[in-house]
Every structure is written in C-alpha cells, then in structure tokens.
C-alpha cells in the first residue's frame, strides 16, 4: 500500500534454544530400535529352534557299535551327548552319550547312557540295520538270513537284504489291506447292523414290543443280522488268508549281543542299513519318513508314524470355527456400530466384549462342556437319537462342540476387528449412499460391508491364529489322543459333526507329556510343533491373500 520502507525492529531476535540430544530424538531411535530388535530376536530364536530341531528329527543317523570296558556291547543311534559330574575323584567332568539301542522286547529299554570313559572300542558295522516296526519301537541288528515258508532262502547278510527288498513291498501292501479290512470294512458292516438295531429300537420306543410294526422290523433286523454275519465271516476269512500269506516271510536277525531273532516281514515298516547309506539314500529315507509323517496314521501310542488325522482335524476344526465365528461376530459388530445408539449400555457391552477376550481359555472349555455337550448335546440326543441312548451321540465332546467353543473364545477378536473396520469406513460414503436414496440396510450391505471386508478378514485371521493354536479347551470338548475315524469321510452324511477328533496342539501335548517312550517322542514334539506352525501359517496365508484381493477391490484410493 505505502511506499514507506519497513522499519527495522529494535527488539533483539529471541534466541531459540539449541536442540538438545533428547529433543533431537537420537536416543529414542536407539531405544525404540532396541525394543524391536529384542522382540525380533525372540521370535526368530523361537522359530529357529523349532525349525532346526523339527527339521532334523527324521534324518537317518549312522549306527555305531560300542564295546565297553565291562565287556558289554551296545549298538544304536546316538541321540545326544552331554557332560556330567562323576563320582570318580580323578576325573571330575565326563562325557556321556544317550544311545537309542531299541530292541525293547529283549533288553527292556529303549535308550542307554554310555559314558565315554567306559568305551573301549567304537565301530560302524557295515550291516547294522535300523528297523522301524509296527510295535515295540525300533530294532537294531544284523541280517543273517531269510526264510520263506519255512525254507531258508538266504544265509548271508547281502542275500537276506536282497530278499527283504524283494518281498517287503508286497508284504506291506497286504498288511495295509488287512488294516483296511479290520478298521473300515468291518466298521461298515458293524454300522449296518447298528443301523438296523437302532431302527428296531426306534420302532420299539414308538409302538411297543407287541405291535405288528415291531414284528416286521424285527424280521428285517434278523435278516440283516444274518447277512452281516455271513459278510463278517468272509471278511474274517480274507484276513486270515492274508495273515497266513504274510507270516511266510521272515527275516532272521542277530542283535549286537548275538541273540538271534526271527522277525516276520509284516512287522517291519521300514528298514535300512544305516552305515552303508549314501547321501541320496539317506535323503530317500528322510522323505519317505516325512511322507509317512504327513499322510500316515499314528502308531505306537502316537510316538511313531504319521499325524494326518491330527492335521485333518485341526484344519477342519479351524474352518468350522471360522464359519461359526465370522457371521456372528460381524452381526454383533454391525449392531453395535451401525444400529445401537451410542450411550452407556453400548459402552458397557463393548467393555464386556473386550474383557471376554481376556478370559482364560480353559474357562471357555468348561463352559463348552457344560453348555454344548451336556445341555444342548444331551437335548439333541433325547430328541433325535433316543434309540442309541444311553450311548451319547452329541452329548459328549465332538468337533462341532469344539468348533463352537473356540468360536465363542474368538468372538471378541472378530467383533473388535469388525467394529474397527466399520468405523474406518468414511462417513462420506454412507452419506453418499443415503443421498442416493439408499436405506440403512442397503447402505450397509452395498457400501459399508464391502468396504470393511478386509478389516473383517483381519479379524478372521486373528481368530484363526488364536483358535488353531488353542489346546486347553479342546481337551474338554472333543480332542482325543486317538480318533478311530476322521470327522469328514465318504460315508453319508459326510460331515460327522458329533465325532471326536485329533488336533495337532493336543497331539504335541500328548507326545510331550503322556508318552511312555518320552525320549523317542521328544524330537517328534519339535517336528509336530513345526508342522503346527507351518499349518497355521498356511491357513493365514490363505486368508491374507483373500484379504489383499478384497482390499485391492474396495479400499485403494488415489488423489
């Protein structure tokens, strides 16, 4: 406006304080970074420990033979070595080895400690065989010969090993066939009889024992019984035939102590000359073991064999749980966020839900047992399965009740995540929809829910991660050590929601604490844990991929 030059201010410029070290924030970078580093180290350490221990368990180890100064001979795989304090005055600290010597039925022990001090000689016998058996744990010994139907067909280790390789596959297949007949075929036949019996009982409960309907049903039952008995006999015959065929093949072995053992081929799951194996041979054994571990059924009280039923049970239970928890959680959150008038009651409900997330999981287990199994399950049994009472159908632990219990446990996670996702939907979008003439529900259905979907998926991922790793409540509501049947199979109605199931988390607990042969089970604990982590990781990966697809579709914005 005016052309007058700006007057210079007389007041001295205020000196601003020098930026101190703390104000600059250098130390904070180190502090926060350090916190992150500690957290990362802990997580990486945990994963690394489980990974290293888990991945190595199934790798075949060499089999040394030890001769002690006392004159005894031991042969087996070295499990670990440690130092210990001896009673001897001269040597304070000694080394000793834990050797898995197997041959439990002969020695009465799976493992022995051998002190390095006592070892006179250590050799690696060329023909040391490691034999994994269907029962009694491992066997370590030398092949001596092979008998086929009573005739000796081989009498040198080489020839015996050759005969073993020639016949073992066929024998294994027959053994599998026998197992299939014994468990599934006979089970199917039994079920037919059971169904007939239940029908009869239903009629009896309805019409009484003197009614013509009962007479007719009884006749039918007798007929079925006859047919089933006949079928049963043929199955039995078949089994006996297969057994007889299998028992003809016998591998003659000698233990390291010189005791001769005749081992039927049908008892042998896997055998290999440990000290002769090349790297490729070892890798072959390694992968064959993984294959059995992932796809096989457990044997020897779960400490050997596979964990397939547990993997299957875990996945199915987690999916069922997600199926139950997501709709309910989303509905609850929708009501809280979109419909309910904010106020004291809504806040109280919200706080209760948050607190529910902190309730110990065993409490949910107890609730599930009391409410689902004993109340709802028993009521269902009374209404629909009265004929099989007093045997409970739904009135006991089962995969459905376990899933629902875990759904309850993870409900707060889903509700909180969904509420957050809903509140993150910009109000302007809702207004836009209302301005177009949308009703509340149309706005929720078409705008709010799609937009919140990625957040809801996050809730589901968190719920899955929490649910899949939970063990304590499952022990009360349906997880068992050994389930005879999978909860989903090819027999109608395909999904058997009432069946108890195996679960990896429970399996780990069982291996670690309930196994008689705990030394042998210990490495399996790590392998199974590794598997559980990988499984949860895969389930989450699936959900994350789904979420990122949704997010690309609904959330990305550019300006």
């Amino acid at each position: 406006m005016s052309s007058r030059p700006l007057e210079k201010s007389v007041r001295p410029r205020r000196q601003r304080s020098r930026v101190s070290l703390f104000a600059q924030g250098e130390p904070m970078i180190w502090l926060t970074g350090g916190g992150l580093a500690v957290a990362l180290c802990m997580i990486i350490g945990l994963l690394l420990l489980i990974f290293c221990n888990g991945i190595a368990t199934l790798w075949p180890a060499p089999v040394p033979q030890f001769q002690t100064s006392a004159g005894s001979v031991y042969m087996g795989e070295v499990t670990r070595a440690e130092s210990f304090r001896s009673n001897d005055e001269k040597v304070r600290v000694l080394q000793r080895k834990l050797v898995r010597t197997g041959n439990y039925e002969i020695s009465g022990e799976h493992f022995v400690w051998i002190s390095d001090h006592d070892i006179k000689a250590e050799t690696r016998p060329e023909w040391a065989l490691v034999i994994e058996r269907t029962a009694w744990g491992r066997f370590y010994g030398f092949p001596e010969g092979f008998t086929l139907g009573g005739d000796t067909v081989a009498s040198t280790p080489e020839a015996a090993w050759e005969m073993f390789n020639k016949h073992h596959r066929a024998v294994s297949e027959r053994r599998e066939k026998i197992r299939e007949l014994e468990t599934h075929e006979i089970g199917r036949v039994n079920r037919r009889l059971e169904t007939a019996r239940l029908n009869l009982r239903t009629v009896e409960l309805r019409d009484g024992k003197d009614s013509p309907a009962w007479q007719a049903e009884h006749a039918k039952f007798l007929e079925t019984e006859k047919a089933v008995t006949a079928k049963f006999a043929t199955l039995q015959e078949e089994i006996v035939r297969l057994r007889a065929e299998n028992s003809r093949y016998v591998l003659n072995l000698k233990t390291a102590q010189g005791k001769a053992v005749a081992m039927p081929l049908s008892d042998i799951v896997r055998a290999y000359p440990a000290n002769q194996l090349s790297f490729i041979g070892k890798a072959g054994i390694y992968f064959s073991r993984w294959h059995e571990f992932l796809l096989g059924e457990p044997r020897e009280a779960n400490s050997e064999g596979g964990v397939f039923p547990a993997i299957f049970g875990t996945v199915i239970m987690t999916l069922l749980m997600s199926l139950a928890v997501v709709p309910f959680g989303v509905m609850a959150a929708l009501y809280l966020r979109e419909y309910a008038k904010p106020g004291l009651i809504v806040s109280a409900v919200r706080i209760s839900i948050n607190n529910l997330a902190g309730v110990p999981s065993i409490v949910f287990g107890v609730f599930g047992l009391g409410f689902f199994c004993y109340f709802i399950g028993a009521s269902i049994d009374e209404l629909f399965y009265a004929s099989s009472l007093p045997n409970p159908t739904f009135g006991k632990g089962g995969i459905l009740w376990a899933s629902l219990t875990l759904a309850l446990l993870t409900l707060p996670v889903v509700i909180v995540a969904t509420e957050e996702a809903l509140s993150a939907v910009p109000n302007s979008m809702r207004e836009g929809s209302y301005a177009c003439g949308g009703s509340k529900w149309q706005t929720i259905k078409r705008i709010v829910l799609p937009r919140a979907m990625p957040g809801i998926m996050t809730g589901m991922i968190l719920a899955m991660a929490r649910g899949a790793g939970e063990v304590a409540p499952l022990m009360l509501v349906g997880a068992v050590k050994l389930a005879p049947e999978l909860p989903v199979d090819s027999i109608a109605p395909f999904v058997h929601a009432e069946r108890s199931f195996m679960h990896l988390g429970f399996h780990i607990y069982d291996l670690g604490f309930q196994s008689q042969n705990s030394e042998a089970a210990k490495p399996m604990v790590f392998t199974t844990t590794l598997l559980l982590i990988v499984l949860i990781f895969l389930l989450n990966l699936l959900a994350v991929r789904l979420r990122s697809r949704l997010r690309r579709k609904f959330v990305s914005a550019a300006f």
Binding site: K341, P342, P426, S428, M429, R430, E431, G432, S433, Y434, A435, C436, G437, G438, S439, Q442, R446, I447, P450, R451, R552, K553, F554, V555, S556, A557, A558, F559
Partner: protein
C-alpha cells in the same frame, strides 16, 4: 480506493450480526412471482450447542438455478444438507422450523425420508465414490430401486457419464474400481451418479472445486442444459461461476441469509453494501 455507491443503504450490519443482532433477510420482490419448489421458513439448525443456521426464510424457485454464496463456515453446506435431510444422520443435530417441498412438509414425522431423498440428487463438497466399479457407482440409485434391465442400466450409465463430462475417460474402464480415479474424475463420477436417477432437485456443494477449467466448463454447460427440467441449488465460492450459471443468488453470513435476489441484481446492483463487498471480493 473507496468507491462510493450512493444507492446503497449504509450500515455496519456484519459487525452487528457478529455481535448477535438479527436483521430480516433482504429478499427481492421478483422472487415472490416465482413458483416455489421448496419453501423454507423460520429454519434453525444447531450442531449440539453450536447453532449453524439462524431463522432462514427463503424459497427455491422451481426449474431455476439458485446459487448459495458466502464466506467459509457460514452454513451453506448445512443448509444444502438440510434439504435432503442428510444432516439427520448426525445425532447431535437439532432442528427447528419448517421446510416444504411442493407444499408438503419435509420435516414432519410421517415423512418417508428415503422416498424424499430419492427425489433429490446430491453432489458433495468432497468426492465420495463408492468402493465399487465405475459402472456400479453410476447406476447405484437404480440398483437400489431394483432395476435389473441391462440395457436400461447401460443407457443410463452412458447418458449420465456423458452429462458429467467424463464418458470419454471412463468408457474403457467401466469395470475398474472407482477409487483408482483422480480426485477430479471422482467428483465428475459423483455428479454422474447424482443425475443418473433424474431427480427433481439437484443439490450441488461446490461441485467444481476439484476440477480443471475444461471440466468446470462442461459442468457449467450441464447445469445450463438441466435448467428448466431440474431445480438446482449450487454452493460455490467462485463468483464468476455463480454469475454465469445461476438465476438467483443467496448471500449468507454467519448462519444468516443476508440478501437473496436475481443473480444479475445481486452482482451488479445489490440492495446491501455488504453483499456488494462480498461479491466484488472486498471481504470474505
């Protein structure tokens, strides 16, 4: 620098209003001869304790373009959002007074708000495309009405996008997400969405603030096209735009309607000095 205009009533109204004094709105007589679509009388609105609109009395003439102007925060958006009751969604809003659309009350308890909103289209100050494809965005109101005929939907989509001057840019990406578009494109998409349902009233809250001059021109052409069939209420900070597109202009200040009259009069020879000052850019 002071240009004296002897016609103006001299006063210091704005300061007095700020001090809490009330004046009746200076409404020009021409408006009395117009057929009203919307009649607002004694309308007050407050957000919680803060009152945003004070005793608004005005009519929105049928088939005409009415511009709302005024400094930022004076309640233009609030007034616009009261017309289709979008403000109702906020639980803090208190309303007092009357509004009549075609002689029927807007704020009566028996009114079906959804039905009411279906007769109005709205373009918001900030673009708010929905999280769905461009196509679905445009035909959203038809989807809500349950329209399934594909050829009708396609036709409406193309017509609306052409009307909003965005057809050329979107015709090859109708199935892509609307959220991936630029801010200006999003705003034109929202305009297309608002005109797709062919509403009786079109409420536009600064529709061109995010647009380049070419798109702005096209929107102004669109408004000129729609004039007559549609009743349009437009909020704008751009005086030239108000002068170009509108038939009537309302000047608001601190929640009051100060002067309301034909655009040419408001811009060339307003009754109040304050209005003159504002439209010539001397304050605000």
């Amino acid at each position: 620098m002071d240009i004296q205009n002897p016609v103006k009533k001299k006063s210091n109204r704005l300061a007095e209003i700020a001090a809490g004094k009330t004046f009746p709105t200076e409404t020009h007589d021409v408006l009395k001869s117009e057929e009203p679509l919307l009649e607002v009388s004694g309308f007050n609105l407050s957000y919680g304790a803060k009152q945003a609109l004070f005793d608004i009395n005005m009519i929105i003439p049928k088939g005409k373009v009415t511009a709302l102007v005024g400094p930022s925060g004076c309640g233009k958006s609030t007034l616009l959002r009261s017309i289709n009751r979008i403000n109702d969604l906020l639980s803090t809003v208190r309303i007092n007074g009357e509004m009549k659309l075609n002689g029927e009350p807007v704020y009566a308890p028996a009114v079906d708000v959804i039905e009411l909103r279906k007769r109005m289209g709205m373009v918001f100050q900030k673009p708010n495309p929905f999280p769905m494809s461009v196509y679905e965005n445009v035909i959203y109101s038809l989807r809500i009405d349950g329209e399934r005929n594909k050829s009708v939907l396609d036709e409406v989509c193309e017509r609306s996008l052409r009307g909003a001057a965005i057809w050329e840019e979107t015709k090859d990406r109708l199935n892509e997400s609307a959220l991936g578009m630029s801010g200006g494109q999003q705003q034109r998409l929202c305009i297309a969405r608002a005109i797709a349902a062919e509403p009786e009233v079109l409420l536009m809250d600064e529709p061109c603030s995010a647009l380049d001059p070419i798109a702005t021109n096209k929107i102004e052409d669109l408004i000129a096209d729609l004039r007559g069939d549609y009743t349009i209420v437009i909020v704008t900070h751009n005086m030239q735009q108000a002068a170009r597109v509108s038939d009537y202009t309302a000047f608001m200040y601190l929640g009051r309607l100060i002067e309301y009259g034909p655009t040419s009069t408001i811009f060339q020879n307003p009754h109040l000095q304050e209005t003159q000052d504002y439209v010539t850019g001397r304050f605000g």
